[in-house]
């Protein structure tokens, strides 16, 4: 008999999937723009630029939803890495991913309605959502209005640092997304966490 526990309210699930869609669209068009090659276009440049702009503004809007929603519901607390013993808990989690899981061990910190994330998740999600993503969104908005970028810097165009932060931040998010999707298979069953992300119920 499986136990069910309700974990994720509708707004978080809606936000999560719209955010995911926006990031996938932005990643594909972003790659098309950065590695633009007339002989080998992934998405044609002007189309990619238009889609990237629209999706980027959507992502910025979704970020506002995320921040406001978190403040209103108190959900922000979930993301805060809680210090006493955090390094130890992170190491335990890594050990589980690195060897325990192959031996069929139980997950050391399974999610509960009070504590959704294990320590490693909290640290990663917090860094992505409150450090990297804001940088990517802010630099993206400057890219939309390049007149706000510094004029010149170290003898080069002032848009260069903005562009580099945008590109590197986005690369970190893409790397995160790949591992994030894979770690989604680490529930009691391969599909459990994906199901939870859709229905809100955690089955274990």
């Amino acid at each position: 008999m499986t136990n069910r526990v309700f974990m994720l309210p509708l707004w978080i699930r809606l936000w999560h999937w719209s955010n995911a869609l926006a990031i996938i669209v932005l990643a594909v068009t972003g790659v098309s723009l950065h590695f633009s090659n007339p002989e080998l276009p992934l998405v044609e440049f002007s189309l990619a630029a238009r889609i990237h702009n629209v999706a980027g503004v959507c992502l910025a809007g979704l970020y506002v939803v995320f921040v406001v929603g978190n403040i209103v519901t108190g959900n922000w607390w979930q993301y805060v890495p809680k210090p006493p013993g955090i390094i130890g808990r992170c190491l335990t989690q890594m050990q589980y991913y690195g060897s325990g899981i192959f031996k069929g061990e139980k997950e050391p910190f399974p999610p509960t309605p009070e504590v959704n994330f294990n320590a490693l998740q909290a640290v990663t999600y917090w860094s992505i959502m409150y450090l990297v993503l804001p940088v990517v969104i802010a630099t993206g908005l400057i890219f939309l209005y390049p007149q706000f970028a510094p004029d010149r810097l170290f003898g080069l165009d002032g848009l260069l640092p903005i562009a580099m932060l945008h590109y590197l931040g986005a690369a970190v998010i893409v790397l995160f997304a790949v591992s994030h999707i894979y770690l989604g298979t680490m529930g009691p069953k391969v599909s459990s966490l994906f199901k939870m992300m859709i229905t809100g119920w955690y089955e274990h």
Partner: protein, 363 residues
Amino acid sequence: MPTEPHQPLICVKGIAIMCIEMFYLKRETSIIRQSEFRGNHVFANFKNKLCSALALLVMLTATAFADDPPPTPEDLTKIKTANAECLSCHSEAGLKKLPKEGLDVKKLRNYLVDLDTYTGSDHGQMACSKCHGDGYDKHPHAAKAKEGLSECQDCHARKAMRIERQFDKSVHAENLSDSFTCATCHDAHVMTLASKLRDPHKIVAQDNKICLDCHDSDLAFAKIAPEKKKRPPIDEIHSWLPNTRLHWQAVRCIECHTPTEDKLSLSHEIQNKDKAEKKCATCHSANTSLNARLYRHLAKEEQNKYGFLNSVILSNSYVVGATRNPSIDWIVIGLFVATVLGVIGHGLVRIITTRMRRSKNHD
């Protein structure tokens, strides 16, 4: 008025120009001949080579005469004094203190020259009378003197011939063939060659002003456009181009509105929207055409600064897709591949160990 210091040279120059014209005609006919008599190509080749050698000889001599030596400091003082006489009426300052009464100030206002701009321009070391010929020798000159104005090709014969062939195919020739001259776009008192300006921002400002002066002003457009031709709203027809006005501060209209074939300089075949470049990736890619266009004069200075491709452009503009750093790109691609392989590997080990455990449990 200064005496014309190189008067005798003008005849030589005329002969030289004729020789050059003959060379070009000869070259064109020889191209036709070549295709006509392919079977007899050895003979044709020899004849062509002889023609080219002779023409080259003539041209070299001609060029030596055609380019005037730079003026000496004494010449310059003379030119300056002579030009000051012209500017005593034909400048903002002159207008306020006209040396003669009864001049038509309103009309004169259309023929003003800014001394600083003129001095900085390509023609800035020349006497006004060099182009504004005979009728202007006397000061104040007769109103009819305008008829004696020299044409650009009087000095720029070779260039003019090349440009004319390009211009004939342009949208300007199509719509305005007779009324359109070099001076319609190029104000000889203002223009500076891009190779001299060097700074892309200055080149862009100078060149786009020429286009926008007409194409962004109903009044100026109506002055030379054919009747009934309405000026297309410039922002509207370019609305597909993101950050339109910012693009126009960074690149020239002719970057897209001229064909790419001409290697010597940018073509004067200005094309309308049907033929103009619309593919962003032409500029926005590692092999950006900006190197052969706006940055052609700086292309040799490319130093791959900080390891960036096309870093010579980067000193003025960040061009998505063109100004990028291959080392950083490879690190990012490497990390991405490593992450994907990492999760695939982890997944495989999970599948294998789970199966092994299951079969063990069955035992």
